[in-house]
Symmetry: D2
Subunit: 243 residues, 4 copies
């Protein structure tokens, strides 16, 4: 059993971490994680109209946080810099197909997504009506995402990548570290961070390249990122690293 | 693309959910999830001395939250009631063995756990010195946990059950819903909730049978539970359901 | 340590099992697994032109086995009977998209699939040219597979369903047992059987509703099914059960 | 749709592969997979008395194959060489604890394992009576396995590593390729190969460092290894590579 010194040490570490979570700043100094650039990729969750377009079904929900952080510009900067430097870019989208309407026992946000028809795609082998829909990629990013080099994974279906091919696609290219941004900060982005850590990847979350449904959700995400991820960076830090 | 009515509906739902997260109360009314009692089990993450004993390495970190919520008494009540009613009980513990010292690139909390020797067990096939150690089960729960009926899974190694046999053990007994409590609220408990949802389980989190490293971490956990889990109950509600 | 009696018992059991593998018959009597019909679904792996159509890229490889077993008619019978009885039908297809050309270190059959352009689909969000291609569903099955009720999962990418949403889709409909057929018997079908068993599902493989690349591969599959699956049935047995 | 030339090419490739499976020889020439030595480890499944000791519960089942191949000496050579060269060694054992007796709907071999008490360990946190039992490591290997450097993972529970921490432990040490041997060739060894491939690892199976329950099971394993694994080596080839 650890003694008083250990408790003191832990408390100090935890206090720093919680402070980091609250301010979304301290975590940068607390660690010295150095990714191997040749094994690093950019990963964006849900860069789709329903979150990013002003006509998107969930825009109203995330817009205050997105406009405050400049999330859309920051995600665009991450992708643009990665493309310029030949760093691989991965996108993990969120779709629901017609038969998904049969699911039992959805959780509350899953129920909301279903009720408002968010991320709806015609069928697993038919993307009829996809162009410009809420499920389509945000227009300013679309050309980069569909350039034939970006890996667009199969859809995640709840919040994490457990049911898609993200981990495999990263591994088949020798990637062990992701620079992560996207939507929603405390839901799909957090779940991607957690699952990738469980699979032995390193994860750096970009704190101003995410979007949350409200500031309380953003704070919750920041607190969890600061405790779990290998590091939490700003877009500026990430762009500097990628270059 | 969804119209204004959809946005309004989503915003209202989200507002309710976020409020629920803040107050840890509203979520009870928002949903009507009815578990099938015959397919439900109690699951406790990390009911170990390092979190629950006053000599535990992380007691100082969680004690304020634990004492405010009566977490220890509430976890004991969940297990005791389940045992009395022959509802299966599962425990997902957290251990580190000697070779785990070689891990690369730990995240911040993983690093802290390593630095202070938390959850340390002699070896994968040797529990020498386990009795009474920080990794051992909290004494008041130990007899129930080691009664030969409780399923003690293999250890989880990061925060979630991805690397242990929890999902399989639940399935091999026909369980599809868990009533979840334990430590730490926003780390292992949240990660267990998320992974079990990804595997198609239903999850009810017991809001006063968890323990968090500080109230900000507790609030983050409550917000995420309220958005993701099928429901959030009090211990009183859970005990009433189990009986 | 177990004694001589145990060895004798095991040897007898193993001998029966191996015989079952060789004859693909004995396994039916050896077990008494009784699926719960309300929790059972039909699952077909890779019912796509590249395996099933006489113009398919791999038809030459599987045709002798397929014609001997009447695999195509048997798969059609399983789907037709399930549809008539409202038993859910799941299809786990195999696709490769353009960026998959970048994969490192493929195994031998993966390399062959890549070299001959098998299962090629334009892009993850574009099924341009899909109709009638080698990746498309075998024409006589296509209407049933695309009826809006059949669950067409995301593609598997190696051989098993680890990287797609099959397990989740089954669970979200309360399915715990699958009646399994498809292609290729010892590769994707075997890997689906193994992964579903690891996830706590029950699996019944239909021995004449699979297709193998040669009789040696078929025998290997039968031997492994007989040892691992909950049971091995004929199409006649499966149809009788579904009805 | 691929034309006649493609079919011919595929058939030739498949014929070579199937021949390789039958002879367990050709696969060595068919591929040119070159592992990165610094990212390679040795992995042994189930090196336990119940398979390897002449008093083991399943010795009678595998002994003919094991004695023909010199499996025990070959596994010992792999481990010894790896230790001498500081290449990491991983062991994935198979245990059943008391509560596992409650499992529903076992497959045939799982039922046999249960009936004869194979791989039985007192409890998840109690290895009382482990020393010398059928679940313990084979005596000539035991010192190396318990040297504090070998990673002994949590037990696998069906056949594959889906329910243990093998993938995570490999990743946390930067390993992307395993040199694989162990028991039983077509069951746990094959399932480990398949799951690791799905997780993006490279796998080389050592054809004379495995043990099968009969020659038909061995042939089935060889056929599947030759089609799925990155390569199939002899112990001599593996030892030369490790050195």
């Amino acid at each position: 059993m650890s003694g008083t010194m250990h408790i003191a040490k832990l408390l100090a570490a935890a206090a720093a971490l919680i402070a980091a979570g609250a301010t979304a700043a301290g975590a940068e100094e607390a660690t010295a994680f150095e990714p191997d650039r040749a094994r690093t990729a950019v990963l964006i969750t849900d860069p789709q109209n329903d979150f990013m377009s002003e006509q998107g079904a969930a825009w109203g929900l995330v817009k205050d946080n997105v406009l405050r952080l400049n999330t859309r510009e920051n995600i665009a900067a991450l992708i643009k810099t990665a493309k310029a430097e030949q760093m691989p870019v991965f996108v993990s989208p969120h779709y629901y197909y017609e038969p998904d309407a049969d699911w039992r026992a959805r959780g509350p946000i899953q129920k909301t997504l279903h009720d408002i028809g968010m991320f709806k795609v015609d069928g697993a082998t038919s993307f009829k009506g996809f162009a410009g829909s809420g499920a389509d990629f945000y227009a300013p990013l679309k050309k980069s995402i569909l350039d034939g080099a970006t890996v667009v994974t199969s859809p995640h279906k709840i919040y994490g990548p457990e049911s898609n091919d993200l981990a495999l696609q990263l591994r088949k290219r020798g990637i062990d570290t992701v620079i992560l941004g996207g939507f929603a900060a405390n839901l799909c982005t957090d779940s991607h961070m957690r699952e990738l850590m469980e699979q032995g990847f390193n994860v750096i979350v970009v704190k101003d390249a995410v979007g949350a449904p409200g500031e309380a959700a953003y704070d919750a995400a920041m607190l969890n990122y600061s405790m779990i991820a290998n590091d939490v960076w700003s877009t500026t830090q990430a762009v500097d690293f990628i270059r």
